[in-house]
Symmetry: C2
């Protein structure tokens, strides 16, 4: 996982993996028939770790569903800073590196995106009527993912947070305007009869 994140899939040789894992080629190939299966395993693990290793820490102490979206973005910001713009979103990097139309790999990349966006979607749904009815949570979640990936890409390229911070700020502005626009239908600020979905 570390090597694919740092050097990408194609530029990581099996010898690199063997050295880092202090294993012999025979052992590796006993469990993974080909290098390709290593990528599949990495992508599966990323997917399974999105919830416990990414979302859970990011949302610790953050109850507000919309704030959670930005808390998630803050994790990527911190990752960029702490690694000197070396690590970005591993899934995004692999998604653009893999050009071959391998169905299994693409399905796993899509599953990673789907879980990420699905989590954001959950937040937006939880936000309920704070957002306008025409702000489809599904659309919005895909939009947030696009902004994150594009922002991380620019940050890594420029080795600067400017584009990242600018993008997050504009996204924040959008959400502010969405919330302001949603308050039109019901003007009563009373939180008493707030119906709970689910």
């Amino acid at each position: 996982m570390r090597l694919f994140l740092e050097k990408g899939y194609g530029s990581t040789s099996v010898a690199d993996v063997l050295r880092a894992a202090r294993a012999n080629s025979g052992s590796l190939y006993h469990f993974f028939p080909a290098k390709h299966d290593l990528l599949l395993a990495v992508l599966e693990r990323y997917r399974s770790e999105i919830e416990p290793r990414l979302l859970a820490p990011a949302w610790r102490g953050v109850a507000d569903p919309i704030e959670r979206v930005f808390a998630l973005l803050r994790v990527y910001r911190r990752l960029l800073v702490e690694t000197g713009f070396f690590y970005g979103c591993p899934v995004g990097s692999l998604a653009l590196e893999i050009h071959e139309p391998d169905p299994a790999v693409r399905r796993l990349l899509a599953a990673n995106f789907e879980r990420w966006a699905g989590a954001v979607r959950g937040c937006l749904r939880e936000a309920g009527d704070r957002l306008p009815v025409d702000a489809d949570p599904r659309e919005l979640s895909l939009f947030v993912l696009a902004v994150m990936e594009g922002a991380v890409m620019q940050a890594r390229t420029h080795r600067s947070l400017e584009a990242f911070d600018a993008s997050v700020r504009r996204l924040r502005d959008y959400f502010r305007r969405l919330e302001k626009g949603a308050r039109r239908p019901r003007l009563r600020p009373a939180p008493a009869a707030k119906e709970k979905i689910r």
Copy 2:
């Protein structure tokens, strides 16, 4: 350019280039000291072609500056469709593939982003007071680039336009709300005293 776009830099062998160009290795290395310089030349050409080969056709017949932003996004949408989600943004793909901190390559990638975002920024400045004063054109242009790159990434991964269209729709919604919010200060629709910057 075609090979780097289709297979990426690392997965394109010099032999691939030689075959496609019907040249011999000696000839290639006479002009390009190393494969690395091939990448530099490609990135320089991309940068110089942004204006004539991307912006000019995209904006033909589109006068409205804000519409031009979305006309630009439409080019990427068409590219995705016409190539069956094979081609995306070449600069974005290379930006995420190149992990080594090569200064020359990174500078050229950044220059490509800068020119793209700069063009969008020009549109936004031209839009003038149709946008709120607090909507910094620089921030907005980086935001638009992030959305484009993230949207293309998702489209290629899912082999579907859903995330792309959703992202563009949300960006459109954002601009609509920005325009609506900007109309507050000056309510007169008279275009007479419109001062022209530069």
